[in-house]
Subunit: 341 residues, 2 copies
Amino acid sequence: MSSLTLALDAMGGDHGPHVTVPAALQALSHYPHLNLILVGDRIAIGEQLRRHNATESPRLQLLHAEQVVPMTERPIQALRTRRQSSMRLALDLVRDGQADACVSAGNTGALMAMAKVVIRTLPGIDRPALVATLPTLSDQPVYLLDLGANVVCDSETLFQFAVMGSVLAECVGQRRMPRLALLNVGSEEIKGNDQVQQAAQLLQACPQLNYRGFIEGDGIFSGAVDVIVCDGFVGNVTLKASEGIAHLLIQQLKQGIEGNLLARLLGWLLKGRLRRLNQRMNPDQYNGASLLGLRGIVVKSHGNADQAAFLRALEEAMVEVERQVPGRIKDRLESVLLDKS
Amino acid sequence: MSSLTLALDAMGGDHGPHVTVPAALQALSHYPHLNLILVGDRIAIGEQLRRHNATESPRLQLLHAEQVVPMTERPIQALRTRRQSSMRLALDLVRDGQADACVSAGNTGALMAMAKVVIRTLPGIDRPALVATLPTLSDQPVYLLDLGANVVCDSETLFQFAVMGSVLAECVGQRRMPRLALLNVGSEEIKGNDQVQQAAQLLQACPQLNYRGFIEGDGIFSGAVDVIVCDGFVGNVTLKASEGIAHLLIQQLKQGIEGNLLARLLGWLLKGRLRRLNQRMNPDQYNGASLLGLRGIVVKSHGNADQAAFLRALEEAMVEVERQVPGRIKDRLESVLLDKS
């Protein structure tokens, strides 16, 4: 396998180097063809390296960054004032060809804004989208986009999301002719707002996509389709609401189990199952949302990801590099647009 | 307690009189001050009455309707062509003062459209909203609106929803100064689209409402607030996605329990808990979404509600009659608008 290099925003996320450095070291020991560039505060990263008895090496480089993007900073502010931040420098490495992809657990809005300026969108793509997978009743997870990068989307943007999501499901998710749906308030053709109505027309007219029509909120988890497209407002609220109700359910089940002695005993015996359930519902297990539509690969980890979850994000970036996702999106887009014109 | 009369669209929902008639009879035996008018096909309803050894009486009247609104008919079509439908005649009874409220498990869009024309909105309300409660980590459920009546909403409409939801939480949910939030993609002030941004400004300027700011999707189930406002597209998708993931979780837990003999035994012992959990997550247990903002009371039952769930919808309508919800909304709205001008 040919080697590949990831640039890590080592300072991003709620835990910074405490999580990113051990995850990086784990990735290096798992994957001999992987090289990493840790970008961030030299002292903070060095401390973590020492704690784990690791040193810089040809496979593990350190690039010092003066600044960190605060988690709550406005994207436009970050874009203007954080040119020496770990996030920005990690993106610069991708732009300059020194890294094949960038991974960050930092401020999502800032990452979006910087990636758009530094790495730029592919020809034919107006705005990048944030995509991740969710569990379903079938064996295969479903790709949902956009998850909050674009709170307002017109039908053309939704169409572009459909192309990008289909390519990702095909080349990373390994689905043949991924089944695609638009998220809507009803499955009948007459339902929805103007954007989804018009996007449906664009998708119906596109033979390269396996468009299956509208899907309702409960259909997300049914496994009936591989890719679901919606605007970033709806996608973000839906994703977080799903996390919220999963948490509620698991809490209630735990409370029930703690209720009496017999139940406590059963609960103790069922603990492994509950833990696995919790993991399956835990978004960190599906960690590594991708910013699609850029000329390079950028993966966003959950801000409060732990080591295992951050490792998942690194692995997602590696697969996208190996499958050359941006190039594939570009090719597909060209063929679709050529057909349309 | 003074008597009250509900008009039932006995034909609505997936099961029609098979569910609505026994639920009606159960309600009559529970509540001595209740009168019901069953609206629908005389023969189909009569058959169910005979099956349950019931007959017409002063407390149980039957109003024949020639037509039924199909579940998939477009609202505009239903409005034009179903003037003799059970749904329409039940609404007419409310308009004419012969019933205090109408309950239907029929086509939601048609019910909305007909209710708006027949019963009309309150002064100062542009569009009615569909509201229901969802379970939370606290003891108290949360009111979420709009659930799909209005897929596009401006900030003024969201503000009206906030007033209506607060009144319902106060007089039916018995919360003092209900805590109110806008559903958004982030809790920081800068987040969201124009509609929620502007709605936030309107709400901040309104001292009669206990506005607490933005809430994210996972906050819906936290119990941190009593009322959450969003447009009908977001609300509908969120509600159904929550149903979907609850179903997924319960399925996975069941599968896990069926996995091996010990687990099966435990599962058998835990069955009651799982059933209760299922019930708590089952939207039918929270059945009875209200159409708020009308000059009369209209309650929408889930289309596939069973007898117990339809009974819940009847009870919701009774409480709204007793607490005079439309009058209270009208009063509150007048005081709010007076203050604004």
